[in-house]
């Protein structure tokens, strides 16, 4: 393509309200246009990248026998009500509107339910299984915040795939094939080396789901590598048994009630009480979906991981108990709860970090008061069991090896999930098996954020001059730049096009410096310069975007490098 025909212009500045590096670069280079926070349009260069990423995903999904479809964006309330996911309480990213007749419609943030529902028409017998379908869908999610450019959009393109199987084993096998296909995809788009399969919490049916996380400086997530193993964990499932160092000679003192008014934060509290922060205790009250009230005690300097708590309690959700109920149950304002003297009806859970401590602090269940010098076996019974309820942080120790977990900032570029028969059961998707019995279908769900992958690639490979595209998803392979020598450049341009090389020819009447700066910003993998000087030296100058050195090659050599 001739650059003079490309309508987009590079820009010196991105919009002032744009915070993310990926969107700033993509806007400046003319790949995308910002419509509003988290909503971008894709201009010719951007669309070329998207289509390349999609094509790689398409090929890998077709290799594992998945069939491409495209579902509607408008979605039916009735279908989502079946699985109890229509409610804004359950799913907080819905965009909804109303038809003229007053009926509500939703805008697809996910397609698990509609696809499962559609499959009812096409799956009857065990002979119809397994089936896998995928689509490239524009998802709309009403995100609270959208500050990460195209990495977390309110509107984004997702490759979502769904597998339908007749048995647990068939699903497991397909799930493993999908992991292989996903790894292949990340390899091909250029981020394979830094993309890891990460174990995350599963659902009712399966212990783990899996995420694909790419290590990157701007990552919103944190993953933990198990010491000496090629195993990566999502924060939620990092096993911890937090130890609290304890002076064994310390004598148990008499418990005491201390007035400590308006102390915000454990650090301030510890200082006020003149104790180590590790002696403080947070006691948090939760309610659950099965209407239990639970008190959790954790060492003051640590936080509770609600996902861990849900798994320990075997519930769908936990929620902080509201202030009024806390006061009813503890006789104190929020902030002064402690495990002593709580009503019997409240279940009590202690994190490992509270084990073995002497003379520790706890809320006194009395507004503005704290108990200090609390001791197990004296002031309250030693708990029968301690639990792993703490949110993992950098520096935490793997209880198996005793070594530190390595941690990485990452962006999630894919995830896969084994629903077992849950989704099939609620949606009414079943099949008649060989034994003539009707059984629910096993469902797996597999997602790749296409636009997110594009954003992560930009973040990872850009430098101070602009974007550096991997060859496989670059909008063009060659950026041809002429300095003078229009005619020879045109001949070379036509020759490259004839040979099937994707070439952007900067045929604009601009200074070389401006052309080079634009070229660095746009980030096409190979820059080829044709000039009097290069011709005198025997051909054209070729330079990789990611490298500093260039070399002179003959036209024949150039063609042989790129010929398909």
């Amino acid at each position: 393509m001739r650059q003079s025909k490309l309508f987009t212009k590079t820009q010196k500045f991105a919009p002032k309200d744009e915070q993310s590096n990926n969107a700033k670069l993509l806007i400046r280079a003319g790949f995308i246009h910002k419509e509003m926070a988290g909503v971008y349009s894709y201009l010719p260069l951007g669309l070329r990248v998207i289509e390349k990423i999609k094509q790689i995903a398409r090929e890998e999904m077709q290799k594992i026998d998945s069939e491409e479809i495209i579902m509607s964006g408008l979605q039916s309330k009735q279908i989502w009500q079946k699985s109890n996911r229509w409610d804004d309480e359950t799913v907080d990213v819905w965009f909804k509107s109303k038809l003229k007749n007053g009926n509500e419609v939703g805008f697809g943030w996910s397609h698990e339910e509609p696809i499962t529902n559609m499959m009812i028409n096409h799956i009857n017998s065990h002979k119809d299984l397994p089936v896998s379908v995928f689509q490239f869908q524009t998802k709309l999610r009403n995100e609270e915040r959208a500050k990460s450019g195209i990495i977390r959009g309110r509107e984004f393109i997702m490759k979502d795939m769904y597998s339908f199987c007749k048995s647990k084993q068939e699903l497991e096998e397909y799930y493993q094939r999908a992991i292989v296909a996903y790894n292949k995809f990340y390899q091909r788009v250029g981020i394979g080396e830094d993309t890891h399969v990460v174990f995350a919490s599963g659902g009712a049916f399966t212990e783990f789901s899996h995420e694909f996380q790419t290590i990157t400086e701007i990552g919103e997530d944190i993953v933990f590598k198990v010491p000496n193993k090629d195993r990566y964990l999502n924060q939620e499932i990092v096993s911890l048994k937090i130890q609290t160092p304890q002076d064994k000679d310390e004598e148990k003192k008499q418990m005491q009630e201390v007035l400590g008014e308006g102390l915000i934060g454990v650090e301030v509290l510890a200082k006020f009480l003149n104790i180590d922060v590790k002696k403080t205790t947070k006691t948090i009250l939760f309610e659950t979906d099965d209407e239990r009230v639970v008190a959790v005690a954790i060492r003051g300097d640590r936080d509770i991981d609600e996902s861990k708590l849900k798994r320990v309690l075997k519930v769908e959700w936990v929620r902080l108990l509201d202030a009024q109920k806390v006061t009813e149950l503890t006789d104190a304002e929020v902030g002064y709860a402690g495990m002593l003297n709580l009503p019997e009806s409240i279940e009590k859970y202690w994190d490992y970090s509270t084990q073995g401590r002497i003379n520790f602090e706890m809320g006194a269940n009395k507004t503005n008061y704290h108990n200090i010098n609390v001791n197990f076996g004296v002031d309250l019974d030693e708990p029968e069991e301690f639990f792993d309820l703490a949110e993992a942080i950098d520096g935490d120790i793997d209880p198996n090896s005793g070594e530190k977990y390595e941690t990485y900032k990452t962006s999630e570029v894919g995830n896969i999930f084994n629903f077992g028969t849950d989704k099939g059961e609620v949606m009414g998707l079943s099949f008649v098996d060989e034994d003539e019995k009707t059984k629910p279908v096993y469902l797996g769900s597999y997602g790749i954020g296409i636009t997110r992958v594009m954003g992560v690639v930009v973040e990872k490979f850009s430098d101070e001059k602009g974007i550096v595209w991997p060859e496989s998803i670059a909008p063009f392979q060659v950026h041809l730049i002429n300095i003078g020598e229009d005619k020879k450049a045109e001949e070379l341009y036509k020759l490259l096009e004839t040979e099937g090389v994707e070439v952007l020819w900067d045929d604009r009447d601009k200074r070389p410096g401006e052309k080079f700066a634009d070229s660095d910003l746009i980030g096409i993998p190979y820059r080829v310069i044709i000039s009097d000087k290069s011709i005198t030296n025997g051909g054209v100058e070729i330079k990789e975007r990611s490298k500093d050195e260039s070399k002179i090659v003959s036209i024949e050599e150039l063609i042989s490098i790129f010929k398909k």
Copy 2:
């Protein structure tokens, strides 16, 4: 593709609530799935058709130098407010929702405003023009009714293109190129012969816009062919000078006020008054966007075309005056307005159909009363001018030739519109010309309904057995069916695939009758049967879907027919 691997099943029946033939067939054949009225998902066969139609459109748009982009579906209120098209009063098909911060967002029903706004970043100088961009976009429109299957959806795919030019002439030239490209597109997808460029009303800038209308039985539109000319007109712009036959010997009688209570419709009124219906008069009061009140009189058996009225009045919109205002101005309930004794402030317009009548009827501006035997020159002045304000109907006469217009039921498969500088001016899109003056950009807009074209093709070419796809957009070229002879069929299947022929092989273990019925329903252009009998006869049996006869050809002949 092996049909055993295609997850969709043909179905004997379409959903009960589906009324349109196109959707019934497409659902039964497994091309689409109905999500709700006017909302469909596209399954593997359907997606293949869509992609082929898109590719043909893409090629034709690229040939006229248009660049592909993809805009966002979520749209900004602020942008649409600039052109005064955010309001539901102005645009009645908006889907809207709210962001978490309470701001409204729209879901794209059109992209003229966002694209024009985006272009502000890329158009500065006359050197940047002309530019044309296009996209394949999923549009969402909150249609009151959606009963035409994929021909009029609440969600549908549109190819929309926008041209930006520096002068009227440049735009006119591009507009003509677009007409040529569009005609080429309709030819290539198989409906060229029955698709006509139809003149429709333009806007402030241009007399006409153009529609592409395909003649089809189920068409929602009606187009008028000018007698003896290859010129097709949209109903709104059909010139009429409706004559009312008049007995010249009839004597003018004395006007009389007649009580006629609760007479609904002119037929009933004429019968009650014992006069020809052509002597009755409808007097309708309108208000306009420039706050005029207008009374229009038309012969009782005809209707007013509001589009014609708008052009005569040179206004953006006209609206029926509400009942209360009618009563205030006429001293009568709605239904009894007449042109006699109306307040001076009301402008009066007479349709040609009211010209030359004697002893005609009119409302008396008095509830339940009608004037009869009204005469121009006696009871009221002969109007200085009569206007063409009547809605054209089948049988109407072209005033130029005196011959009847031919009329056709059609479906609109595309439209193009010349905005002149209007849109550029309201959106603030301008350029610096060679004379260093800042001037507004000229905008053209060009749409093709991709899914609608698919639906029209199905309607036009289907028969009682199923769909009949044109070769260019068929999901596959060849439907290979074996009767026994699995091995030879597999060899042939592989051979065809190797030769690049798109082939669906029905390798299922089904009776021949069932395979043939499915094949007719799916509608692939060529059916190739391989059986003992065909082999004995020298090869395979080939039959076109659209024809009854079949013939035996050798494998070599078969390959040579389809080889690319």
